[in-house]
Amino acid sequence: MKNFTTNRIWSAKSKKKLAWSGQQKPVKLESILLFAVILLCWQGLSTFYTPLVLPGPVLTFKSLMTIFQSDLLFSETLISFKRLMLGLMGAVLVGSVVGIIIGLNQRVRRLLEPLVYFVQSMPPILYITLAMIWFGLNGQATIFIVFVASVPIMVVNIKEGFDNIDIKLIQMGRVFKFSKTKMIREIILPSLKAYFKSALIIIIGLGWKVVVMGEVLSASTGLGSRITDARMNLQTDMVFAWGIIIILLCYTSQKVISALFNLSTARKQYDL
């Protein structure tokens, strides 16, 4: 305690990883049981129907294996992922900028807020249809709809973050003569971080669903197009298998984002 070296100041960083790995709980027996029960029910139900209507878990698993063995999995996932990322990157960029401007400026807020809620209220099927008309049946339409679906979520979350910045900290910054950049770097951005994180998790989850939906309707490549193919060929088991892959991708990417953020805040998660 007494022999202090400057290194100690930063030692907090080295502890972060520890704290984070400490948070991961072992898989509980209950969840394994639950999973088994669901599988059993699925198996039971599938005996009442033809595989065309409801393929059983075994058949689905076999199809899953076929997909894993083909090159399709990687190439199609990559295509969908690229579209997702392009749409999301656009949304994060535009959404953050608009959100920050709305947060900083009351006048712009009054002007843009209704527009944001208008876009948010649009049913996805509407802008998918429009995207198909405007961009034709290719990937661009998919990128566009990911973008349109995500931007308002980003904006609303950042705006919410602005509304919740602790005015007392801003006052503190003013008293201690923080420059504008220091104010943004030290107070505003860290305050927005939690909101940015939750927005990112929401839009990456939504993004996967929208990408696939867009591809099912408008594209001949990507994960969604595989589902369309499987449906056309009456391979319901393949629809299930691709579905499982998409669910896993969606779930994993949300977890990855969450973990990335936790990594940088692990030591600060205690209640204030």
């Binding site: 007494k2 007392k168 003013r174 008293v175 860290p190 600060k268």
Partner: protein, 232 residues
């Protein structure tokens, strides 16, 4: 004179906190403010620091920079103790910063985040931060609350030492009469709202060699207590 307010009124909605309030702070002077809870002590400090605007009246601030120990700690939750203190004065050397941390008894906790500290430790961190900021006027809003007796004594002598070497003007809000007696050149006793200065005490004895048992101290103290008992 480093600060002056004349006939200041301050309203929050319909609550009139200050009406026709006048006071001033001289260079190198330590002014202690005592008054009932909710009478507007923090409001006065906010008016001095410019965080609040008077509803009417004049506020004149001649200081170059003001440092402030807020009533709440107002530390950055995402910065550790060292960073919270260093951040207000980036020219401050690591060594100076660390010795300041030691002065307030937080050595060993440099890497801790505010959420990992006790209330009193956060308060001391906020104290060190205020000391680290270069200013000629220091505002302190109940800076030693939630500290134990020993720490309080230590912090008082630290503040005296600091004042002795820098001669900053200090406005010190407190509920502890003894703190005011030991630190103040002047003690303002405030009434409850609408807030007036009920009494003003001048203490002439040099701060370094004051004892609470001195006659002047005992007298002032009993007068303050009497005023409280009479209900101000």
């Amino acid at each position: 004179m480093i600060f002056n307010m004349a006939n200041v009124c301050k309203n929050y909605g319909n609550t009139e906190v200050l009406s026709n309030f006048s006071t001033s702070v001289e260079m190198e002077e330590v002014v202690c403010i005592i008054g009932p809870s909710g009478c507007g002590k923090s409001t006065i400090l906010n008016l001095i620091s410019g965080l609040a605007e008077p509803s009417a009246g004049e506020v004149a601030n001649y200081s170059t920079a003001i440092s402030y120990v807020f009533q709440e700690d107002r530390l950055l939750p995402w910065r550790n103790v060292y960073e919270n203190i260093h951040i207000v004065n980036q020219n401050c050397s690591t060594k100076a910063c660390l010795s300041l941390i030691k002065d307030v008894g937080l050595q060993g906790f440099e890497g801790y985040y505010p959420s990992e500290l006790s209330g009193g430790m956060r308060q001391r961190c906020s104290l060190a931060r205020a000391f680290n900021f270069e200013a000629d006027l220091l505002l302190m809003d109940e800076p030693f609350k939630s500290l134990d007796y020993n720490l309080r004594i230590e912090m008082i002598s630290l503040l005296l030492k600091l004042w002795d070497s820098t001669r900053k003007a200090i406005v010190f809000v407190t509920h502890e009469i003894d703190e005011a007696l030991l630190l103040g050149d002047r003690i303002l006793l405030l009434s409850s709202r609408p807030t007036k200065i009920v009494k003003e005490f001048k203490i002439t004895a040099p701060k370094k060699c004051r004892k609470l048992a001195d006659l002047q101290m005992v007298q002032i103290r009993s007068e303050i207590i009497k005023s409280f008992q009479a209900g101000i």
